[in-house]
């Protein structure tokens, strides 16, 4: 079985860059292809969010298949909010059958936030259960209920950790638990409070986790003052320090400042021991990704056969 | 208010402490809500001498008042006087004669008059034989004007006479008629001649000119304008109430100086504390713990001084009267000596011819259980057989004797021990005492000490309306308050959390009770109990709330009606406010006074609307310091808020219901406030007052 591109780049030791694509609220294949074109070649893999913030969008797996058809390595996301274990396991089998390898496991934002607040939050599994279950499907060839898969599958299991959530003292331990559960790579929540991220990384290194799992640091380029404020006030689990807000506010060309800031952060992250790459989430601003990756000195991306 | 635990009544401590079991709690409460007439009615039902007791009663009720553990006892006696002077006397309903028997009472003092009143109300014909020219006994004969104006006594006596008691004055047993003669016409006789004789001490010099005895002196001072010769230095022997009266009367009779000595030390002196204080204020100089040794006279027999000897102790370890004298002696200059060391009965030896025996010491041979002398059908009561005591104590003996006489005439057995059984409550627990708001007792105004001893005017000025309203509010309504209806109580503990006084309580065994005896009757628990499982033992609060229906009906006859719930205490009890409610208010405004606005529940407000009210205002006062309760505004406000929420869901505008607190001025000038309510409601009825405003 072949590895995913993401896995190959990680194994090579090169600094990884992953991107993200938020599917539309429609069935417009063209839109996905358009963004795929933007990102293909400048990142090593592309995340497809799964009804992020509980807003109904084209399914992650479907979009993943579209990217597969474009020779782009997708990282599909599975939340525990919308599906029970039967649907999830079924979806995993389907994803692999469609050529998808990278699967990111998340709990999922509560439905209260989205455009279907009346929906039932399923949460049959939690994200930790999900990681372990996927590992067991791959390594033991067994479903959650105990039955065996008819044939083995190969997947590259990812998860998210948030250094900006509480209780802070516990976050590194939780990461260790995810490693124990079977995670292969980690992407973090977007970093703005570098200080806190560094403290978290220090703890991570202390526990030796950085040696067990590659950590991709999340970054988001700020597009406008409004965007910065929105992330500060309305997105749970995100910390945006006032200095950042002030910096954007003071800048004449806010977009340029946002890009500058993002590039600075990426360059800094490269220097932190244990950070294996960045996860660039330029959602609704995918077109800026090539510029950022270039200015951060991360082009060209390594190619493998 | 009585509670019957089984067949024995349970009185609040004030009522238990009163020998005639006056329902002090109830009349104090009536005063506190401005119903002075009702207060006087309650007093008169039980007390044959309201005016006298209101002025000079020894007030054992105050000694038992549980408020004393918090700050000071409620000033019950002065409140009684206030009711007497500000309420209307209830009409005297002449007693119906339902029995053929007649009873003779010898002696028209408090004991005799009480027996007479009670028996006449039981249907008997009663005649009181009084040897003085006026009935009243020691009160009439001896108590000085400055302590008790004559009108008081006369008022009380005339009401007893109006009831149907025949009072014959100027006739004396043993001189004008005999026992046998009485028993020809009367089927029972009650001896109530009291202790009209003053005792002296046979020390050297006690027969000198210028030595006087207390009671004759007091009588002279009261009725014959007795004045001392200029330069009289009076020395009073004695430490009891009579001695205080003698000393203070002596000051008013023009004595140059008045000094007093008694065996007892200052704290042991038997006189009431307040009597001693007032005497000292009037310039009487006292030497407690000094005993009279001899009266020093000059050659011509006039008194020059009093030799006194120090007293080390009065009572021995067995509490018997056994004075131990020390060595120190002193001579105090004086030229008049008045003995006020005790009273005794007159010489009763004339009674022995008629089968009425005396003891060796010349007092009646008396059976306290049957209340009879040795001659069947001849009873005795009052100080004559119970020894020196207060007027109210004498009255209570008279009351019991009336029962004894009735049993005798009904030919049924009587036992005085069983005639007056009752229980009362324990003291307040420490934890409750801590939580009750402290409010100082209001001192009863008296004339200034420097000038009042120059005349015989009544020393005590008494309470004005505001003082009486404030003082009466200090009553804690002992045991009138909350009790749990166990059957429907869900034991949810809401009352426990809400009560400021820790009355609902979980004991060490985990058992929940509402400790009714600790309750301050603030009513917060009743209002918040979700199961309606708490009620007050006394129904006055419910009764007040129930007035809403009729008041609203009446108001609705005059246009769109608005209900105002206001407090019934403090400024809301003043005459002017009551006048406003009765005469001055807009006729479509129903003003309902309730004992604390925190007792108005959400359902009551809804009920008002259900009965057709267009608006409901809940008006408490803002004088937090004066209110004896706690958290009233908070709870009233929250309840009204909830009512508003519910009414809004029914499409009724917020402005129709409001909780507000009024300043003292606003209550006293209520008309504009009332107009304000109506203006608000009119505005609503014309389309305003909704959410968009």
């Amino acid at each position: 079985m072949t590895m995913s591109n993401l896995q190959k780049v990680l194994n090579s030791g090169a600094f990884v860059v992953t991107g993200e694509l938020g599917p539309p609220k429609s069935a417009e294949r063209e839109k996905i292809e358009h963004h795929g074109h933007l990102l293909g070649g400048v990142v090593d893999a592309v995340n497809l969010t799964d009804n992020q913030t509980a807003i109904v969008r084209t399914s992650s797996i479907a979009c993943g298949k579209i990217l597969v058809d474009m020779d782009i390595d997708p990282v599909i996301q599975i939340t525990c909010r919308d599906r029970n274990r039967i649907a999830i396991q079924s979806d995993v089998l389907g994803a692999v059958a469609l050529g998808i390898k990278n699967i990111l496991c998340l709990q999922g934002d509560h439905a209260n936030f989205g455009n279907e607040p009346a929906a039932k939050n399923v949460n049959d599994l939690d994200s930790m259960n999900l990681i372990r279950s996927l590992k067991n499907m791959r390594d033991e060839q067994v479903f959650i209920g105990g039955e065996k898969l008819e044939a083995p599958i190969d997947i590259f299991i990812g998860a998210v950790e948030n250094p900006f959530a509480d209780p802070f003292e516990y976050r590194a331990y939780r990461l260790a638990k995810k490693v124990e559960a079977g995670v292969d790579f980690i992407q973090t929540q977007a970093i703005f409070d570098m200080d806190r991220f560094e403290r978290w990384m220090a703890k991570v290194r202390e526990l030796g986790i950085h040696k067990k799992v590659p950590i991709l640091a999340g970054v988001i380029p700020i597009k406008s003052l409004g965007a910065a404020r929105y992330m500060k006030n309305n997105v749970s689990g995100m910390i945006v320090p006032d200095e950042i807000i002030d910096r954007i506010k003071a800048a004449e060309n806010k977009k340029e400042e946002g890009v500058k800031l993002c590039v600075e952060m990426i360059k800094h992250l490269k220097t932190i021991e244990g950070v294996a790459g960045v996860h660039l989430m330029a959602v609704a601003w995918e077109e800026i990704v090539p510029e950022i990756v270039e200015r951060a000195g991360l082009l060209p991306r390594p190619k493998f056969d | 208010m009585n509670n019957n635990k089984g067949t024995v009544p349970q009185y609040p401590p004030c009522q238990a402490g009163c020998p005639i079991h006056q329902d002090a709690q109830e009349y104090v409460r009536q005063i506190s809500i401005g119903n002075y007439d009702k207060a006087l009615e309650i007093i008169s039902e039980v007390n044959p001498m309201p005016s006298v007791c209101g002025t000079i009663c020894a007030h054992p009720c105050e000694t038992e008042c549980r408020r004393k553990d918090v700050d000071e006892a409620v000033s019950i006696r002065a409140l009684k006087r206030f009711a007497v002077e500000n309420g209307s006397w209830p009409t005297v309903n002449k007693a119906q004669a339902t029995r053929t028997e007649k009873v003779a009472v010898v002696g028209g003092g408090p004991a005799g008059l009480t027996v007479a009143k009670d028996l006449v109300q039981k249907g008997f014909a009663v005649t009181v034989f009084e040897r003085s020219s006026e009935a009243g006994g020691a009160i009439t004969n001896f108590i000085p004007h400055y302590r008790l104006p004559m009108d008081s006594m006369r008022n009380d006596v005339s009401r007893i006479a109006e009831l149907g008691v025949e009072i014959r004055t100027g006739v004396e047993l043993g001189k004008d008629f005999t026992i046998d003669e009485l028993s020809n016409d009367y089927q029972a006789i009650v001896l109530a001649m009291g202790l009209p004789t003053s005792k002296g001490i046979p020390i050297p010099g006690s027969d000198a000119k210028g030595v006087m005895l207390a009671l004759p002196f007091l009588n002279e001072a009261k009725y014959n304008n007795f004045m001392f010769e200029p330069g009289s230095h009076v020395f009073v022997v004695g430490g009891g109430n009579v001695a205080m009266d003698v000393a203070r009367a002596a000051v008013r009779c023009g004595a140059e100086s008045v000094q007093l000595a008694c065996l007892e030390c200052r704290t042991e002196m038997p006189a009431f504390e307040w009597e001693i204080e007032e005497a000292l204020e009037e310039g009487v100089i006292m030497f407690p713990a000094w005993g009279p040794k001899q009266i020093i006279t000059a050659d011509d027999g006039t008194i020059t001084g009093m030799e006194v000897q120090e007293v080390l102790s009065v009572f021995d370890e067995h509490k018997r009267f056994n004075p131990k004298m020390g060595d120190k002696k002193n001579i105090i200059e004086a030229n008049v000596v008045i003995f006020a060391i005790g009273q005794g009965n007159d010489n009763l030896s004339y009674l022995t011819d008629f089968g009425i025996e005396l003891t060796d010491r010349g007092i009646l041979n008396y059976n306290p259980r049957t209340m009879q002398t040795t001659r069947p059908g001849v009873f005795a009561c009052g100080e004559l057989v119970f020894g020196p005591g207060s007027a109210v104590k004498a009255m209570s003996t008279g009351r019991k004797t009336a029962l004894a006489v009735q049993s005798f005439l009904d030919n049924v057995p009587f036992d005085a021990n069983l005639a007056d059984q009752f229980t009362t409550f324990n003291d307040l627990s420490e934890s409750t005492v801590e939580k009750v708001k402290r409010i100082d007792r209001i001192h009863v105004p008296v004339l200034p000490a420097q000038t009042r001893a120059q005349h015989n005017d009544h020393v005590e000025i008494g309470y004005d309306e505001r003082m009486a309203l404030c003082e009466s509010r200090r009553c804690m309504d002992c045991a009138a308050g909350a009790e749990c209806i166990d059957d429907i109580c869900a034991v949810c503990l809401t009352c426990l959390r809400t009560c400021p006084y820790d009355v609902p309580h979980i004991d060490e065994n985990g058992v929940f009770t509402i400790r009714n005896e600790e309750c301050q009757a603030c009513g917060l628990c009743v209002g918040i109990c979700p199961a309606s499982a708490i009620r007050f033992r006394d129904h006055y609060a419910q009764h007040a709330l129930d007035q809403m229906e009729d008041a609203l009906k009446l108001a609705a006859q005059n246009g769109p009606a608005t209900v105002v719930f206001c407090c019934s205490y403090g400024a809301f009890a003043e005459r002017d406010f009551l006048n406003y409610i009765n005469n001055g208010r807009p006729t479509n405004l129903a003003i309902v006074r309730v004992p604390c606005v925190a007792k108005v529940e959400v359902a009551k407000i809804l009920e008002a609307f259900d009965l057709g009210a267009e608006g409901v205002f809940v008006a408490g006062c803002s004088e937090e310091e004066e209110c004896t309760y706690q958290n009233v505004s908070k709870w009233a406000s929250q309840r009204v808020g909830r009512a508003q929420e519910i009414l809004e869901q029914l499409g009724l505008e917020k402005d129709r219901v409001e909780h507000l607190t009024l300043s003292l001025d606003e209550v006293r000038n209520f008309a504009p406030v009332a107009e304000g309510f109506l203006t608000k409601i009119n505005h609503v009825l014309n389309g305003g007052g909704g959410e968009s405003e």
Binding site: Y173 | P530, D610
Partner: protein, 222 residues
Amino acid sequence: MIVGERKPLQEIIKAVEPFEKILVLGCGECVTVCMAGGDKEAKETALAISVARKRAGKPVEVKSHTIERQCEFEYLEAGRKLIEDADVIVSLACGVGVQTMNMHYEDMRTLPGINTTFMGMPFQQGVWVENCLGCGNCVLEETMGICPIARCSKSMLNGPCGGSQDGKCEVSKETDCGWHLIVERLMKFDKLSALEEVKPPKDWSTSHSGGPRKMIREDVKL
């Protein structure tokens, strides 16, 4: 205890519109304690209906009464006369009581007057919080007495999620993050290592997910 809240009055008033004799029935147990449907609320609800109907020009007879426990047939039986005298019952009991009423008085219309919400406790007077979901397999021992199913918005067994901030859940700043509380409590007793174990997926078949449940004690059956 079971907690509920009275339905908006307009909803109740609309539901009883076609009826002429209404009985509001309170319950003396849980809904009394959480002040949704006890005697007080029954009286208030009856008065509210009466006021609304009077003002709408369609006065109606409304009575109120409280039954010790509306989920017991015998207690319901005791109120038969009053109940059968009415056209419709507005029950302020929890959903259990309303259904028991419908079981016992099959021919009566008993409508729900409250929305039953959760199993919880009075955290302070006037504030009731949910803390049990009746999952049928209690794991409180593992989480030091704080339920991850009920107190975590996502019922995680291996929480907290990434949305926990300052001890509060991402759903609302008024909601404590259950897992934050669990972690703190474990840290207090120095038992944080208990979280190292990856808890397997929950067996939901013991919860309502497995179908409506029954509890039987054979030894007390008549």
